[in-house]
């Protein structure tokens, strides 16, 4: 059965394989994760469409291909009797790139690298292939065999790295080592004398890689360099290719800053009330609702109040038209170890506090587990980011296109505040709004922020 690059949403036309979770020869169950992809919208694990054995991987890690491209072949359970006979097994094994243990492997390299050229706009710079050789070498460090083969190798003084493996996944099987033994101690001795010749991949590490070439390609125009490239490479350095997610974030940020004239306003909000509500209900909430009680749902609820009162903040810009959204779909920036993603709380205006809290926690959890669906990161109408969790007093976020505004929530901390000419200790937070001045003027922005502030400072809604 052929496995294709899935279409992860209507507007997605290509995907990058970031990681194979199975190797050729591995058994796989239906719906077991087979590979990870990265698209314009999400990173996701793709489950196997069938149970069987992964026979062939057609698209290597890091390669980008159009949707519906065949990326792998699975031998479905019970099918393909002829494939199991020993004879054809050999050429199969020889094709598997990770099994570099075979000297001829280099000569049989498949013409994969040519493929991306046929794709209109390859988002992966050719340079990202550079680190591949060390990775391949690392995978051969561990020679796959069996207890029997290891014992035979020990008894016959054979270096297993010199024995071509024809078993599943390039494994050195009993037959392989028997052949090596019969093929004479001669082969073993020879190999002992000149070990470097047949295994070029074990060559000493290359000197520091040369600077990567500029990427070109329309899709990457946003990522042009600000200074001549040669001025970046000096002293000691390490070059890391950007992940697909990182490239998308970079493109998106440059694009947003170029398209939307950002204006920022900052408000200070007294959240002593909701801090008390939270402290008082935290445990009960977790027990009753089964989900954590964080500050975020308070801010989402308050933002929804603001958006309903001032719809121009809940909009998109299409040329000379302003698209006023009827739904309040709130994107929530979730920091990941490997980047950032903005899952969306859909129809937040229809949800009560608990519904919002639950949705946020669920989305954040699944974002970290790479289990988001593409439509869960699409169709936001407004976004919230939370630099405060990392201690930021406040941030001036970049608008998440196609929104026209983004709310930044700073760190909540106790500060001395003047109330009625007395100094009080209150829990305070700085809220920032970055807004697109093409459609949102200062007046609307501040009115919106006023509504948010008022909602937070005069919290009345039951949270359970």
């Amino acid at each position: 059965m052929e496995v294709v690059m899935p279409q992860m949403g209507e507007s997605i036309f290509e995907g990058t394989i970031t990681k194979w979770l199975k190797k050729p020869g591995d058994k796989i169950d239906r719906d077991e994760p087979l590979f990870e992809i990265s698209t314009d919208k999400v990173d996701a694990e793709i489950p196997s469409p069938a149970a069987g054995v992964l026979k062939e991987v057609k698209v290597n890690e890091g390669q980008t291909v159009p949707v519906q491209t065949v990326v792998a072949v699975i031998e479905v359970d019970g099918a393909g009797a002829q494939a199991a006979s020993p004879a054809p097994a050999k050429p199969q094994a020889a094709q598997q790139p990770p099994v570099a243990a075979q000297p001829p492997a280099a000569g049989q390299r498949k013409p994969e690298p040519a493929k991306p050229a046929t794709i209109p706009a390859p988002p992966i710079p050719a340079a990202s292939k550079a680190p591949a050789p060390p990775a391949a070498a690392a995978s051969t460090e561990k020679i796959r065999s069996s207890p029997l083969v290891k014992r035979m190798a020990r008894e016959h003084n054979i270096d297993l790295s010199q024995v071509p493996g024809t078993g599943a996944g390039g494994r050195v099987s009993k037959n392989d080592i028997l052949q090596a033994i019969e093929g004479g101690g001669a082969e073993g001795a020879e190999a002992g004398e000149a070990p470097s010749a047949p295994i070029p991949f074990r060559a000493p590490a290359a000197p520091p890689p040369p600077p990567p070439p500029a990427t070109g390609g329309a899709a990457m125009a946003a990522l042009e360099t600000a200074v001549p490239r040669e001025k970046m490479y000096f002293g000691h350095y390490e070059v890391q290719p950007m992940s697909v997610m990182r490239q998308r974030i970079a493109e998106h940020m440059v694009l947003s800053k170029r398209v939307s004239p950002h204006v920022y306003s900052v408000d200070e909000v007294d959240v002593t009330g909701i801090a008390a509500v939270r402290a008082k209900n935290k445990e009960k909430f977790e027990q009753t609702a089964g989900t954590k009680l964080t500050f975020m749902p308070f801010f989402v609820r308050a933002a929804v109040e603001g958006l309903r009162a001032y719809p121009t903040v809940n909009a998109s810009v299409d040329g000379t038209n302003v698209v006023l959204h009827k739904e309040c779909n709130i994107g929530i920036a979730v920091a990941l170890d490997w980047g950032l993603i903005v899952p969306v709380v859909k129809n937040a205006e229809e949800k009560n506090f608990l519904g919002i809290a639950r949705t946020i926690n669920d989305l954040a959890e699944r974002a970290r587990a790479k289990k988001l669906k593409p439509d869960e990161v699409a169709e936001s109408t407004f976004s919230i980011t939370n630099p405060g969790v990392f201690g930021g007093l406040f941030g001036l976020p970049v608008i998440n296109q196609p929104n026209v505004a983004i709310l930044g929530v700073g760190a909540i901390e106790k500060r001395p505040v003047v109330i009625d000419d007395a100094i009080a200790i209150r829990s305070m937070v700085y809220l920032t709004l970055s807004y697109d001045h093409r459609v949102v003027d200062g007046a609307a922005a501040h009115q919106f922020m006023g509504k948010v502030k008022h909602t937070l400072e005069n919290w009345t809604e039951a949270i359970l």
Binding site: V53, P86, S146, L148, K150, R151, K174
Partner: protein, 324 residues
């Protein structure tokens, strides 16, 4: 000599042993007048009379308790479970009294507990069980589960002559389906010895009871693909024939275990441990198993077919194993 069924082989063993030794008595539900639910004991009553062929009330606990007591008093009872599933009713008698008696009181219990077992006949969850592993886990018992007419007859005779309790499982799918010409006259088959049913080089397929036939069928198909499998019929599950298992593995270096019993806690797990302990450095691939899934035997015929291992499933697993 004409070929006879497994059922007939078992009946012959009962006849011959009762004939040979007046201490041998049989007891069970409907084994006398009716001749047994499967007619295994047909003719016994007429030949040996109601004192030695005892129709019991419907109480498995009573049957086993009575047999245990009989054996204390010098008899050699052969008790029948009408379906082996019902052995669960007398679990306490079997595991606490019959199995421990010799250890605890120095009182051997030379009894046989036999009954029709296994699925494939659309018997549903209460008439298809393979409860052998409860008893393989019970020290003090011997557990036999034959696959051929010769073995059924020879092993039942050995069981009756054994001075300790033996559970004798009879696969009801095989009762009338396997036929064999067997030698006339008295013969026995030793308890605790496996049989190599087919010699091969590439892997060992271990099985027993109905699945021994499935394993053989699979091996013949595999031979056409160039995979030469050795097939071993365990015959006795307790004590296990470690020697035959390990020596075959040392030859073929790969092991596939097939059993009709459910997966978790099946004999395959124990064999895998024996092989890892005794022949780890002879393994050239993972120890694989084809078993029933962890559910009761389904009643619906298509579901039961899906539930039971068959030659196709064995062939598929063997192909995977061959690739290592």
């Amino acid at each position: 000599m004409a070929a006879i069924t497994m059922l007939e082989g078992i009946r012959q063993a009962l006849f011959e042993e009762m004939d040979r030794d007046p201490a041998v008595v049989t007891l069970g539900e409907d084994i006398g007048v009716y001749g047994g639910a499967f007619k295994v004991s047909e003719g016994l009553l007429a030949r040996f009379g109601p004192e030695r062929v005892i129709d019991t009330p419907i109480s498995e606990t009573a049957i086993v308790g009575a047999a245990c007591g009989m054996s204390y008093l010098g008899l050699r009872p052969v008790a029948e479970m009408q379906f082996i599933d019902f052995i669960a009713c007398c679990f306490n008698q079997v595991t606490n009294f019959v199995a421990k008696s010799h250890y605890r009181w120095g009182a051997p219990v030379p009894m046989v507990l036999r009954g029709p077992s296994g699925g494939g006949v659309h018997g549903g969850p209460f008439h298809s069980a393979n409860p052998e592993m409860y008893f393989v886990h019970t020290p003090g018992l011997k557990v036999i589960y034959p696959s051929t007419v010769y073995d059924a007859k020879g092993l039942l005779k050995s069981a009756i002559r054994d001075n300790n309790p033996v559970l004798f499982f009879e696969h009801k799918f095989l009762y009338r389906r396997v036929k064999e010409e067997i030698p006339a006259g008295d013969f026995t088959v030793p308890i605790g010895k496996a049989a190599v049913r087919r010699e091969g080089r590439d892997m060992t397929i271990l099985s027993y009871a109905a699945m021994a036939h499935t394993a053989l069928e699979a091996a013949e198909r595999l031979a056409k693909e160039g995979i030469d499998a050795e097939v071993i019929d365990l015959r006795t599950l307790l004590p296990l024939d470690r020697e035959t298992i390990l020596s075959s593995l040392k030859k073929t270096n790969k092991l596939l275990i097939v059993h009709e019993d459910t997966r978790t806690g099946g004999i395959a797990g124990e064999i895998a441990a024996i092989v890892c302990e005794g022949a780890f450095e002879d393994l050239d691939g993972p120890i694989m198993r084809v078993t029933a899934p962890d559910t009761p035997v389904p009643y619906s015929p298509p579901l039961e077919e899906r539930f039971l291992p068959n030659a196709e499933k064995v062939v598929a697993a063997a192909r995977e194993l061959a690739k290592y």
